[in-house]
């Protein structure tokens, strides 16, 4: 067992873990934060996307020990109390989900996308940036609409 400590959604956490522990296992099984999902477990589907020091990464393909000292944000860290993050609200308003399993990863990918490419996102950019996030229900159409609207709302919220 090896000691690890990091900041998750602003809270300092530490534990003794098996070195094999993946970041997603640490979040779900150690911290019992189950908002981050495991879909394919082969770094293709993007259900497990979280932010590590601001970068969107696949937490099923990251060792928890590599994140020692890092700042991690998960889907649980986006809302302010009862107030949804603008990207979460946009997914609800635009019906950007059906079963909802991929949604945490979609939203974490979308929020990081806005941090890199701004709040005015065209459809082509959004579809290209969703290359690593799979949805088997929606056909993506409403997800793309939700991300465009959520990005705009993030711009408005920041003003």
């Amino acid at each position: 067992m090896t000691a690890v400590s990091m900041t998750v959604n602003g809270q300092h956490v530490s534990a003794e873990i098996d070195p094999r522990t993946l970041l997603v296992q640490f979040l779900r099984e150690e911290l019992r934060m189950t908002g981050t999902h495991v879909g394919c477990d082969t770094s293709q589907c993007g259900c497990c996307v979280v932010h590590v020091n601001g970068d969107a990464v696949k937490s099923c393909t990251t060792l928890a020990l590599t994140c020692d000292g890092a700042s991690v944000t998960t889907i649980e860290g986006l809302a302010k109390g009862d107030e949804l993050h603008p990207m979460q609200a946009a997914f609800r308003e635009n019906h950007g989900l059906q079963c909802g399993f991929c949604t945490p990863g979609m939203i974490m990918t979308a929020v990081e996308l806005v941090s890199r490419k701004g709040t005015n996102l065209d459809e082509h950019t959004i579809r290209e940036e969703l290359e690593g996030n799979l949805c088997r229900c929606t056909g993506y159409h409403n997800i793309v609409k939700a991300i465009a609207a959520g990005a705009q709302a993030m711009g408005t919220a920041a003003e």
Binding site: T2, V57, K58, T66, G132, N133
Partner: protein, 265 residues
């Protein structure tokens, strides 16, 4: 995943010592290939030497017509680097085509080159641009570095520290992706320097990345897509799998090479 002992060295020298002491261990850079391989139990290293704290192995510089990218520089950083875009735009574009955004936020150039996956993108850029791979021990020409599928000139305890790319006159990379994995079914990197042209192919060869001398000679005489009319690579020695058979890959090599020449201008 099989059990392993975990190490997180603070310097290249310490990492090299650990790698030399634990010859059944593996160096962990971005982990975007190694970790999936370990999860599938296709690899079971005794030790993981996590390079994530070697911050002096990150960064990009351009000097005297050479772009030098340190080994732990992530694909996202290469893809968005203003310096790389200005000096060798094809290299930035190649980096932006690897995997997906989350993979590009973790995967590193050194990891990709050291792994030498036969369908990886960077080996084609190294070979076509005539790159030099610098390690903690020596400098290795790309022509000597890639030695077959997942095989390189790296020795035990040897760690890539940077890769240097001479700036060409023109270059372009064209990739025909597997639509699911995003790996190259065929990727062709064409680079033109003063009097010379190099064409490197990834994704197709059963022994990994390779140069097409016949195409290079034709393009040195006339750097235009038409110079490759009627030219082809033999299908023997190319990969055949459920995604594409060897004949199809052979056909694609000519098509992608022509596109790369046209796009290079």
């Amino acid at each position: 995943m099989y059990e392993f002992a975990y190490h997180r060295p603070g310097s290249v020298a310490e990492a090299a010592k650990l790698a030399g002491d634990h010859t059944d261990g593996k160096l962990l850079a971005g982990g975007q290939t190694l970790l999936p391989t370990m999860k599938q139990r296709l690899a079971g290293p005794s030790d993981i030497i996590d390079l994530s704290r070697l911050d002096d192995l990150r960064g990009i510089s351009v000097k005297d017509g050479v772009v030098t990218i340190k080994a732990l520089t992530r694909h996202a950083a290469v893809a968005t680097s203003a310096e790389v875009k200005a000096a060798i735009p094809a290299l930035a574009e190649l980096a932006g085509m690897i995997g997906d955004p989350a993979v590009r936020n973790k995967g590193t150039i050194g990891g990709s080159v050291a792994n030498n996956d036969p369908a990886a993108d960077y080996p084609s850029a190294c070979l076509a641009l005539g790159a030099t791979i610098t390690t903690n021990k020596r400098a290795i020409k790309a022509d000597d570095f890639f030695q077959g599928m997942f095989e390189t000139a790296l020795e035990e305890g040897e760690i890539i520290t940077s890769i240097s790319f001479p700036v060409p006159e023109k270059a372009n990379y064209q990739k025909f992706r597997n639509p699911a994995s995003r790996y190259a079914l065929v990727g062709v990197f064409v680079a033109k320097t003063a009097g010379h042209v190099r064409v490197a192919v990834t994704g197709a060869g059963a022994s990994g990345v390779f140069r097409v001398r016949d195409f290079e000679a034709a393009l040195e005489a006339n750097f235009a897509p038409a110079a490759l009319d009627g030219k082809s690579v033999s299908a023997s020695g190319l990969n055949s799998d459920i995604h594409a058979d060897a004949e199809y890959r052979a056909h694609l090599i000519t098509v992608m090479a022509k596109r790369a020449v046209a796009a290079a201008g």
